[in-house]
């Protein structure tokens, strides 16, 4: 009996490169898609119009996962890649990759993820709600109908075709 240490083991923290890569790719699509949808959908445009000038928002997977940043520049939403500006107005941090993947791959809605404490939110929750509404619209364009029916409480009507948003996402 007692607290003698009879062996020591070096604990190696594993990596999840596949899931991280998937998240990185989806973040790119989301960021570019957000920029495209903000151009073509008046409801997202309206939401962005009410954000403060130069408003920066990031979505990040903690602790060292991918980052997606968008910023309001001259009244328009711009995807800024994975830069992390100092003057952030809102930051949404997924607690880990396992909590993020179901949301990013359309298996779980944002509202449900929030309910399950999958992410934390730094900043004004009112602005967070505006971003959530934008995300609902964005998901309507980027995900097929059978997925949005499952993850959204109510599927919004599209103002333009998903094809148009996809084209703008891929080619600007």
């Amino acid at each position: 009996m007692g607290g003698d240490i009879i062996a020591t083991t070096k604990v190696v923290i594993g990596k999840k490169p596949v899931k991280m890569t998937v998240a990185r790719i989806i973040f790119w699509f989301l960021g570019r898609g957000f920029q495209a949808a903000a151009k073509h959908d008046s409801r997202i445009r309206q939401e962005v119009a009410e954000w403060s000038p130069d408003c920066s928002i990031i979505l990040k997977i903690n602790p060292r996962g991918p980052v997606m940043t968008v910023r309001k520049v001259d009244g328009k939403l711009k995807y800024m890649g994975s830069s992390q500006p100092q003057d952030l107005e809102l930051a949404i941090y997924f607690k880990n990759i396992e909590g993020a993947i179901p949301v990013l791959t359309g298996q779980k809605g944002l509202a449900q993820a929030y309910a399950e404490h999958r992410f934390t939110l730094r900043g004004d929750i009112g602005l967070g709600m505006s971003v959530v509404r934008c995300m609902y619209l964005l998901e309507t364009y980027l995900f097929p109908g059978f997925i949005t029916k499952k993850i959204l409480k109510r599927v919004p009507k599209k103002q333009v075709s998903s094809f148009k948003i996809y084209l703008a996402t891929l080619f600007g």
Binding site: T120, R122, G128
Partner: protein, 394 residues
């Protein structure tokens, strides 16, 4: 139904009953503190409730560092910073909050400033941002039975310069101890007793039905509604009844635990907006909006509302109501309750009675959309949906 995943925390120690106040010094000792700052408001000091608490410390080793009474109805960043200045100047080591929602929110704000070592609480605004740092002993003595703030993870503090209400959600905002002593609520007038009691009911109903509901929060919500059905009328009609007061203090606390873990939805989103735009007292707004929002949610949440008919109306009415009508009956039971209080003490039952101007309904709907509670409501609600509810409630 068991959720795929949920989180639950209620770490608050509850002291409930006669002479509960007298145990505060022991709890401070237990938390290794001896020089608290007492946060309260002028009215509570004037009517002697603060003295009741201080007197209960007689013959015990405790010195009150400061009594801070300058807390308005809406807590603000300026008040929090000023209280922090007094806390530091008087070398206090703990917080005792005596009051309702605004005093307790100020205490939570003070706790953020002191434990995080920062004078700018703006940087902690949001959800689950505050980490546990330099824990500060924190005791709450509620003087209303409605907000449930003594067991919730949320604080709302106004930033008048930026004209925003900052929301802070963190399990690290939970107090260490909540003291429910019937002496603290016996002087509450009938009108306020009804309004705050309905607030507790709205917490329990939304706590039982919103997206984060789980078996633990369900149990707390159910227990709260049972106590409200049994004791709220008595507390309104005979305020001196200590048993009714203690039961309602417990109901409020239980509902607080429920909604702190399952969160609140549409009723609160619209209710907060009614308060912000038209200064409708929170409990009044809850009483007016709750049945209307339940009817809006009925197609999605009818089964859960049906289950709530049992604690809301009792076993006889539940058994006598056909299963498919129980959800609607639950909403009707709440309407009957608020109508009763309307006759007894003038609790408003419409937005018009609460002083809302018809032309403000649009602004209220727009404000409600940006409330964090909207996302937690299981049924989607857009501007038009909220406006329709407001028009019905008018």
């Amino acid at each position: 139904m068991i959720p795929d995943y949920y989180e639950f925390q209620n770490s608050v120690k509850i002291l409930s009953g006669k002479k509960a106040l007298e145990n505060i010094p022991f709890e401070l000792y237990n938390l290794q503190a001896s020089r608290p700052i007492v946060l309260t408001n002028e009215m509570l000091e004037k009517i002697g409730l603060v003295q009741t608490v201080i007197k209960s410390f007689a013959e015990q080793e405790i010195s009150v560092g400061a009594i801070y009474t300058d807390i308005p109805a809406d807590s603000s960043i300026e008040v929090v910073n000023d209280a922090a200045r007094v806390f530091r100047e008087q070398e206090c080591d703990s917080i005792i909050a005596i009051g309702g929602g605004s005093v307790i929110d100020t205490a939570k704000g003070l706790s953020i400033v002191i434990t995080q070592g920062s004078d700018d609480i703006m940087e902690y605004m949001g959800s689950e941002i505050i980490t546990r740092k330099n824990p500060l002993p924190f005791i709450v003595v509620p003087t209303t039975a409605g907000t449930g703030s003594e067991t919730t993870l949320v604080a709302v503090i106004a930033n008048h310069k930026r004209k925003v209400k900052m929301e802070f959600l963190s399990y690290n905002l939970l107090p260490d101890v909540a003291v429910l002593d019937p002496r603290m609520t016996t002087t509450l007038p009938p009108r306020l007793t009804a309004s705050t009691g309905i607030d507790a009911l709205s917490h329990a109903v939304e706590g039982y039905t919103c997206l984060q509901k789980n078996p633990l929060s369900d149990a707390y919500a159910f227990a709260a509604i049972n106590l409200i059905r049994e004791y709220l009328d008595l507390a309104v009609e005979k305020g001196t009844d200590a048993k009714a007061r203690l039961a309602m203090a417990n109901a409020s606390m239980l509902a607080g635990v429920a909604f702190s873990n399952s969160m609140v939805g549409l009723v609160h989103a619209i209710g907060h907006a009614c308060g912000g735009v038209s200064q409708v007292p929170h409990g009044d707004a809850m009483g007016i909006l709750l049945p209307w929002c339940m009817e809006y949610n009925m197609d999605k949440l009818g089964e859960l509302y049906a289950q709530l008919l049992l604690p809301l109306a009792g076993a006889d009415i539940y058994a006598a109501t056909p299963a498919e009508k129980r959800g609607q009956k639950a909403a009707d039971t709440i309407r009957e309750m608020t109508s009763r209080f309307n006759k007894i003490c003038g609790l408003p039952v419409s937005l018009q009675q609460a002083g809302v101007k018809k032309e403000d309904l649009g602004r209220i709907a727009k404000t409600a959309l940006n409330d964090g509670a909207v996302i937690i409501n299981p049924k989607e609600s857009e501007y038009e949906d909220i406006l329709a509810i407001l028009n019905k409630a008018y």
